[in-house]
Symmetry: C2
Subunit: 461 residues, 2 copies
C-alpha cells in the first residue's frame, strides 16, 4: 500500500521527471485566472515550496470557483519542463481533472497577503497552514530526526524515563501536582504519595546510563513558573543525554558541540525545503542571514571559557557599558551577561566550572569551590544547554547533600548507584523549543511548539 | 570530539579488524580465573552480546579482585582472530592495562546465574543491567528509531501536540488532573480552568494534518484506570498518526500494515544485536520462535474482516467452545474474542466497520449503523492499533454529537475544521509498550518501559 505523491516527493523527481503525476492533493495557496489559462500555487505542507499548476481554460469551466484555502484533488497532470523559470517544472492539468474537495467560507482568514505573527497566533486551528509557522513545525521535525540519527550513530539507546515522579530533581519547586480526577474529592492518593510532573529526567537517566553506557531521551518537561516571557513555557520538550566513562567537562562540552554541528549541517543540507519562502516583517531573521549564521557556526571551534575568566571579561565590560546586574564571582550569570558574551564572540560559547553554590547538588566537585559543569551560551538567546560531570563518589555526594540540608534518605536509590559498579559519567539537557526558535531566527519559543502552554493561563483547545 | 569505542562498534569491525583497541570500557559480566590466563566477558549495554577478553596472568596480578558488576577500563587490547570459536575474535590485554573503575559490594545481586523476572523487577535501579530487561530497552529504542525513519520516508512531519489539555478526547473519563503545586491551597487555577493530562492527541493532530497533510507523534498518554493488569499502564507512550486525502478504511489498514512490516523487517535485520543472549524461563518466548514469528508476518498479507463477519465467526466458535462473554452484534469485542480470532488466523488481523455505538463520535459514518474504523488484533495480545477515517462532514459530526448529548460548543474549534478547506482524513494510535512487548514475546507491558507507573500505586523512584 503506497500513499499518493506529496509535493515534497515531486521536487525530488526533478532530475528524473515522470511524464505525468496522478492523484495529487493539496490546498490552494493562490490562484490567478487569466482569459485562456489559470495558474494555481498548490501546497500540501510537506515542504515549504508550493507547486505550480497550469490549467488551460475552457468555456464554462468551474475554475472561477477556486479560492485560497480550498483543498483540491488533481486526478492527472502532465509534467512540463520550464528551465527558464524559477521553478524548473510546472504541472499541466485539464480543468476536468481538478476537483474541489473542501470549500472555504468567504471569511477564510488566510488570504494571499501579509499576515502579522500576532494575527496568525490568534488563529490556533489555522496558523500552522501559514508559510512561516508551518515551516517552523517542519523544521522542528527535521531537527528531532537529526538528533535521533546522531544519537543512533553514537550507539546511544533512546529511553523513556517517567513523566510522573515523586521527586523534584532540580529542587526548583515550581511543580505541577497530579492526581486521579476520581480521587480528588476523597483525598485518597492514586499513587499512595504526592505525585508531580517531571522537571528533569536526569536522575532516572543516570540509572539507565549505568546499564546502557549511553542513553538519551526527548520527553515533555513541566515547570509551573509564574514568569510569562517569550523564553518560557509551562510545558516544553527537553532533550537529555547521559553517558558513562567521561570525566572531563571540556570533553563533554566538545561532544555537545559535535552533536549540534551534526544537526546544523543537516539543516544546511536541507535548507531549501526547510526554510519558509519568506519571513514575517516583525522580529524575525532574514533567510540569508539564517543560512549564513549556520555556516559560520560550522566553520569554527566554539570557545570554552571558565566561569572565573568569564566574570573577569564581564567586569571589564561592565566598567565601559554597565549591565543591569553587576557581574561578580559567586553569582549566577544573568541572561544579559550570557547574551553579551556570546554576541561578543559571535559564536556559541561554553562556560565551564561554575561556583558550587550556583549549581545543583549532583555535580562533580572540582578541587576548588567550583563544579565540573558547563553551560552553552548562544548569541541572541543566552543559555541553550546545561550539563555537568556527575559526582560519582558516594561519600562526597552524601556530604554535599547534608551540607545542603537535603533529605538523603529519599534519594538513597540515586546515591547508592555510586556503590554498584559505578563509573564516571556526565550529561546535559537542551530545551528543544529554545533551540529550534534560536536556530530558526524566531524570537518567541511559543511558536516552536504547535500549541503552547504557559503562565498566561488560557487553554482554549 | 569522538567518544571511545563501544562493544557494539567493535562487532561492526569484524570484517575489517583493527590491530588493537584503545580505551575500551564496560562492566564485568562474568570472570573465570585459570592458572595462566583469565577470561572476562565484558558488556557495556550497547548490544546484547558481551565481548571476550583474554588476559595472561602474571605473578601478583590484581585479577583476583575481579568480580561480576565492576566497571573496567581496558587501556589497550590486541585484536585476535578466533575463527573456530562462537565469537570470531577475542581481545587480548595485559593485566596492567586493566583497571577497576567502580567496585561492587559482596552483596551485588546480579550474579552470573539465573534470575527470575520477578526478582529483577524488585531491583529497579539495577534491573536494566540484566540480559533480558536491557535487551528489551535496546529493542524499544530500535523500534522507535525504525518508526521515525518509516514516517520520514513517507513525508510525515513529527509533531508535539499538548500533554496538558482541557478536553477529554475519548470521553472515557479516567483522567489525571493537574494543578500548580503553589495554587492548590488557594483554589486558584494556574490555567484558568480544570486541566488534565492527555489521553489521546488525536483532535490536535487533526488540526495539524489539515496543514501538513501527514503528521505523527510519539507522546506520553495517561489513563487513571483502576484496572491493574499486565496489559495496563497509567503512563504509557502512544504513537499516533493522522493523514489527509484518505477515505477508505481498508486502505488505511493496509497503510498501517506496511508501517509495521517496515519495522518488523528492520528488527529482523538487526536481530543478532537486539535479541537477548537468552530468555528467562517464565512466560517468555524462545528466541527462535520470536524470529520465526517475525518472518512469518512478513510473508503474508494480513486479512481484513468486517465486524459483522467477525461476529459470525465468533458465534460459530462459541457454539463449539464457549467464550466467557457470548459474542453478539452490537457489543464490543472482548480481549478473549480478539485473541482467539488472531490466534485462529495465526496472523495479525484487521477488523473494520464496527457498530457506531461501540466507537467514538468522530468516526466516519458508513451508510448502515457502522463506522469506518479498524482495530488491528494480534495473536497472544489482542488489539494493538485502533484507527478510523474521521467524519469530515460538519453537519453529520454535529448531529452525531447532539445524538450523544455532547457539548458541541466546547469542541467547536475541532468541528469547525470541517468548514475550512477540509479533506477526507484518518489516523490511528498504537500503544508503544504493548507493541514492544508483543514483538519481543514478553508477557508484561510493564517491562517495556524503564520505570512503570500503574494502579498498583507505588512510585519508589
Amino acid at each position: 500500500m503506497s500513499l499518493p505523491p506529496t509535493v515534497k516527493s515531486l521536487f525530488k523527481l526533478i532530475s528524473n521527471p515522470p511524464l505525468c503525476v496522478n492523484n495529487l492533493h493539496g490546498w490552494v495557496k493562490s490562484v490567478r485566472l487569466l482569459k485562456k489559462v489559470a495558474f494555481i500555487d498548490l501546497q500540501d505542507g510537506t515542504t515549504s515550496k508550493p507547486i505550480k499548476l497550469v490549467i488551460p481554460r475552457e468555456a464554462n469551466d468551474c475554475l472561477k470557483q477556486l479560492r485560497t484555502g480550498q483543498s483540491l484533488h488533481i486526478k492527472k497532470a502532465n509534467w512540463k519542463q520550464t528551465p527558464s523559470r524559477e521553478q524548473s517544472f510546472e504541472l499541466e492539468a485539464l480543468p476536468q481533472s481538478v476537483r474541489i474537495i473542501g470549500d472555504v467560507p468567504d471569511t477564510y482568514p488566510l488570504q494571499k497577503k501579509y499576515h502579522s505573527l500576532s494575527f496568525l497566533r490568534s488563529l490556533p486551528t489555522l496558523k500552522h497552514r501559514s508559510n512561516y509557522l508551518g515551516a517552523l513545525l517542519r523544521f522542528r521535525s527535521h531537527v528531532e530526526n537529526s538528533f535521533a540519527s546522531f544519537f543512533e550513530s553514537q550507539d546511544f539507546t533512546k529511553v523513556s524515563p517517567p513523566i510522573l515522579t515523586s521527586s523534584d530533581c532540580e529542587g526548583a519547586g515550581e511543580l505541577f501536582r497530579v492526581e486521579s480526577n476520581s480521587k480528588i474529592a476523597s483525598k485518597e492518593l492514586y499513587f499512595g504519595k504526592p505525585t508531580y510532573l517531571t522537571v528533569s529526567t536526569q536522575l532516572h537517566l543516570e540509572i539507565m546510563a549505568m546499564a546502557l553506557s549511553r542513553c538519551w531521551t526527548l520527553s515533555p518537561s513541566f515547570r509551573a513558573e509564574e514568569s510569562d516571557t517569550n523564553r518560557h513555557l509551562a510545558e516544553f520538550w527537553m532533550l537529555e543525554a547521559e553517558l558513562c566513562f567521561i570525566d572531563d567537562v571540556r570533553k563533554l562540552s566538545k561532544f555537545t558541540e559535535s552533536m549540534l554541528k551534526y544537526v546544523i549541517r543537516s539543516c544546511l543540507q536541507n535548507k531549501d525545503s526547510l526554510l519558509p519562502a519568506m519571513v514575517p516583517q516583525e522580529n524575525t531573521e532574514s533567510l540569508d542571514n539564517i543560512a549564513q549564521r549556520w555556516e559560520a557556526m560550522l566553520l569554527k571551534e566554539w570557545p570554552i571559557l571558565s566561569y572565573t575568566e568569564t566574570i573577569k571579561l564581564l567586569q571589564e565590560r561592565h566598567k565601559k557599558v554597565a549591565f543591569k546586574f553587576p557581574p561578580s564571582w559567586g553569582n549566577a550569570l544573568q541572561t544579559e551577561h550570557e547574551k553579551w558574551l556570546a554576541d561578543s564572540y559571535n559564536s556559541p560559547v561554553f562556560v565551564v566550572d561554575y561556583p558550587r553554590e550556583c549549581k545543583a547538588f549532583y555535580m562533580k566537585q572540582n578541587n576548588d569551590d567550583t563544579v565540573a559543569c558547563f553551560d552553552l551560551l548562544v548569541p541572541q538567546m543566552g543559555e541553550i544547554i546545561g550539563g555537568s560531570i556527575r559526582e560519582d563518589d558516594y561519600e562526597r555526594i552524601l556530604q554535599e547533600m547534608e551540607r545542603r540540608k537535603m533529605n538523603t534518605k529519599d534519594l538513597e536509590w540515586y546515591t547508592s548507584l555510586r556503590k554498584q559498579g559505578s563509573a564516571p559519567h556526565g550529561g546535559f539537557g537542551l530545551g528543544l523549543e529554545r533551540f529550534v526558535s534560536w536556530m530558526f531566527g524566531s524570537q518567541n519559543v511559543r511558536d516552536a511548539i504547535p500549541f503552547h502552554r504557559s503562565a498566561d493561563g488560557v487553554i482554549d483547545l
